[in-house]
Amino acid sequence: MEFTDEQVQRYSRHIILPEVGGKGQKKLLASKVFLVGAGGLGCPVGYYLTAAGVGTIGIVDNDEVELSNLQRQIAHGTDRLGMPKVESAKKTFQNLNPDVNIIALRGRLTKDNILDIINDYDVVVDGSDNFPTRYLVNDACVMLKKPLVSGAILRFEGQVTTVLPGEGHCYRCLFEAPPPPGLVPSCQEAGVLGVLPGVIGALQATEVLKILLGKGQPLKNSLLIYNALSVSFRKVKVPRNPDCPICGAHPTITALQDYDQGYCQLGG
């Protein structure tokens, strides 16, 4: 492909970076990224990936825009209340960059549909707000050997990790199974500073771009923990678990499973 004059202008600040250049920008335009969730994390991740010119962005979410979302979910707006989040996000992103093909899927990922849905994408981004989805997405990405950039937020703290199946750890190497619902903060405990998903989502989007461009070191075998109150970034080593039930030498999980949705939908 050749850049149009508009594209030369739009992506000029990428093109002049030696690590991106015209070739890298063309790679981004040919890439496909799938976002799980159009909430706190999905909004900034989608925003920046759209601005960056990632050619195809798929988004799945089952919820509608509520007033309480707008404290942090920056792709939506007061005039979008009641609209499906994926529709609202699509509108915002299309307006930002018409080069990007936004595929909006209203619904839930399940063990029966996830493999078909994500199979076509280069990278998956988890911005989901619940443990069942988080584990389902991890397991599906490990099975399909798809890079996964996972993020989570609560109160003043957020985490990011990058799963490169076959090369590094997976989410189950880190936490083998979802915590029992009783140990997860209840809805009234699950506050979050509105800007926090912006920080974590921007880090996730950065990881995605690095993977697509093949530049830098991804957060493989490590978990980055950001604390807003102490302004600290901690990078914790996460070795691959040889006995991991999904990515280990002898996996005990050989089929996807749906967990109970008995959790408060936190963070997202």
Partner: protein
Amino acid sequence: MREEEIKPDKKIDIRGLVCPYTFVKAKLAIEDMEIGQVLEILVDYPEAIKNIPKSMQDHGQTVLEISKKDDRNWVILVRKEKE
């Protein structure tokens, strides 16, 4: 080396463009060339006469020549050294 000895493999005319598009266009042109080939850049934006050679060198390319054609127009010759 005298100018007539250097044969450019590709020429671009970016007169009328300003920074940063002058360098953006020149960079896009050189990306599509082979190592060792020479790009001729025809430019009329005064800033770019300094900036393009500097940026090209920062990116590892060799600036062979900067010459004034007439009152307004300059030619920059760059040899591609690295991807």
